[in-house]
């Protein structure tokens, strides 16, 4: 309690002690470059005929890129459990409605009755 108050009086000191991690610019550069590489990859992959795997690869690369941004640019890797939990909760409520949504390929027939995620 009193310690907290002292910290309040010396925000700089508190800042150094258990304030969040400062990511060095080197990490940012590496992430930046890998994001560019992944962008090139995903564009390249879209030019290769892979059937059902085209959307899978594209979305997988999207997920990897997003993960990199969340972990490093947004600093979740170094942040509190609470933030991680928040991110996870967001991910869960966002993706849960899509479960069972069939990834449509050109081969499968589609009728309104068949297409749809689990809640339809």
């Amino acid at each position: 309690m009193s310690e907290q108050k002292q910290n309040a009086a010396h925000p700089e000191a508190a800042h150094g002690e258990h304030e969040h991690h400062i990511t060095p610019p080197g990490v940012y550069i590496v992430i930046f470059l890998s994001l560019l590489v992944f962008t090139a990859l995903t564009v390249g992959a879209s030019y290769i005929e892979m059937g059902i795997f085209n959307p899978v690869v594209a979305l997988a690369i999207g997920v990897i890129k997003a993960t990199l941004v969340v972990l490093f640019f947004m600093g979740v890797k170094y942040s509190t459990k609470l933030t991680k939990l928040t991110v996870f909760a967001g991910l869960f409520t966002f993706t849960a409605p899509y479960c069972g949504l069939p990834s449509r390929t050109s081969a499968a027939h589609n009728s309104k009755k068949q297409g749809g995620p689990w809640w339809r």
Partner: protein
């Protein structure tokens, strides 16, 4: 005082004569629905009584006068588990029972007589296979399973017959269905229960349940001369559908004979069962429903045929299927007036039938 008491008197008389806790049980499913309903009422009453009783007893025993100092109790895992597990068990029973009932109400038997119902602001239009049309009314016989195929022409409506305990939403753009078997002759309410705009409360009608004999009479009186399938046949010709779907060997479109209920191989590689919904969709959005081996040349009829027209076409195509026709004929001959049974397009079609079946292997894979 003079004018109040008659009003009160009327009011009480009305109450006594009309008092009911649930509507008449006029269909086969109604007693089953009521059984579950009263089971739930019972459970609720018991639950409510337990809670009310406990509260009352505790309030008397532990009021401040009698019990000036409270005893602090943390909780009790055993008790809490009890009132978690017992309600959970009861709710699960209700869930299973309810689901069984649900599937019974929405799974029509194969031999059901099909009546089409189109909802529009603000009326119900019923179309009987024999060609009879009804607005805000429906005549049906007792003792026959009746399937309703519902669709809406504009907004959501809901077709509800409380005395039968059935209800189904009529949705724009897709068929839904429900079935029932009436047991008691009489007239019953038909309501639209899904709010549908200004005259929602005027979208009501009467279900008239007749004995099979009376129903036969009614059919004879209200016939329009042409069955629904015959109407469809006429429309089929006037839209020049038969220019392609003519069952000739070099036809540009697949033969429609025996298509209904068949598993079709589609040009995009998939398969589909040709049910009512499929037939409707393939008229309005043909390009997604091209049978294998045919070019995607069929134009869309979206916006050119009303829902009633589509229904007539669907019924016509369904009647081209011999199984369906036999089923429906078996189902309705004892109900139809003399000679009317031959009114179905089957009679006039029997000459073309062999040709249709010749072409069938090309487009359809019947399994």
């Amino acid at each position: 005082m003079d004018h109040i008491s008659p009003v009160l008197w009327q009011f009480l008389v009305k109450w006594m004569t009309n008092f009911a806790l649930f509507p008449p049980e006029a269909s086969k499913i109604a007693p089953q629905m009521d059984a579950l309903y009263f089971f739930m009422v019972l459970v609720s009453l018991v639950g409510l009584t337990i809670v009310a009783l406990l509260i009352t007893v505790f309030c008397i025993l532990y009021s401040k006068e009698r019990h000036p100092v409270a005893e602090q109790i943390e909780g009790s895992t055993l008790l809490e588990a009890t009132w978690t597990i017992i309600p959970l068990g009861l709710f699960l029973v209700m869930f299973v029972w309810g689901a069984l009932l649900y599937f019974r109400i929405y799974t029509p038997p194969a031999n059901a007589m099909n009546i089409y119902v189109v909802g529009k602001q603000w009326m119900w239009k019923a179309e009987h296979p024999g060609g009879q049309h009804e607005i805000n009314a429906l005549h049906i016989p007792t003792g026959k399973p009746i399937q309703l195929t519902l669709i809406s022409q504009d907004v959501f409506h809901s077709f509800s017959i409380p005395a039968f305990r059935v209800k189904r939403e009529a949705i724009p753009g897709r068929y839904t269905s429900v079935w029932f078997e009436a047991t008691m002759p009489g007239t019953y309410h038909l309501f639209c229960t899904q709010y549908c705009g200004t005259n929602h409360s005027a979208m009501i009608g009467e279900i008239t349940v007749l004995t099979p004999d009376d129903y036969k009479k009614w059919l004879a009186e209200s016939t329009s001369g042409m069955s629904l399938a015959q109407n469809g046949e006429r429309l089929f010709a006037s839209l020049s559908c038969n220019a392609c779907h003519n069952a000739k060997p070099d036809a540009r479109g697949p033969s429609l004979a025996n298509v209904y209920g068949a598993k079709l191989a589609l040009s995009n590689g998939g398969t589909a069962i040709a049910d009512d919904a499929y037939l409707r969709e393939s008229i309005l959005n043909p390009s997604q429903h091209i049978t294998q081996g045919y070019a995607p040349i069929m134009p869309t009829y979206q916006g050119q045929i009303s829902e009633d027209g589509v229904i007539a076409l669907v019924e016509y195509i369904k009647n081209l299927d011999s199984n369906y026709r036999i089923e429906q004929t078996l189902n309705t001959t004892d109900l139809l007036p003399e000679g009317d049974g031959k009114n179905s397009p089957a009679a006039s079609r029997s000459v073309e039938q062999p040709a249709g079946q010749n072409a069938a292997p090309k487009g359809t894979v019947k399994q």
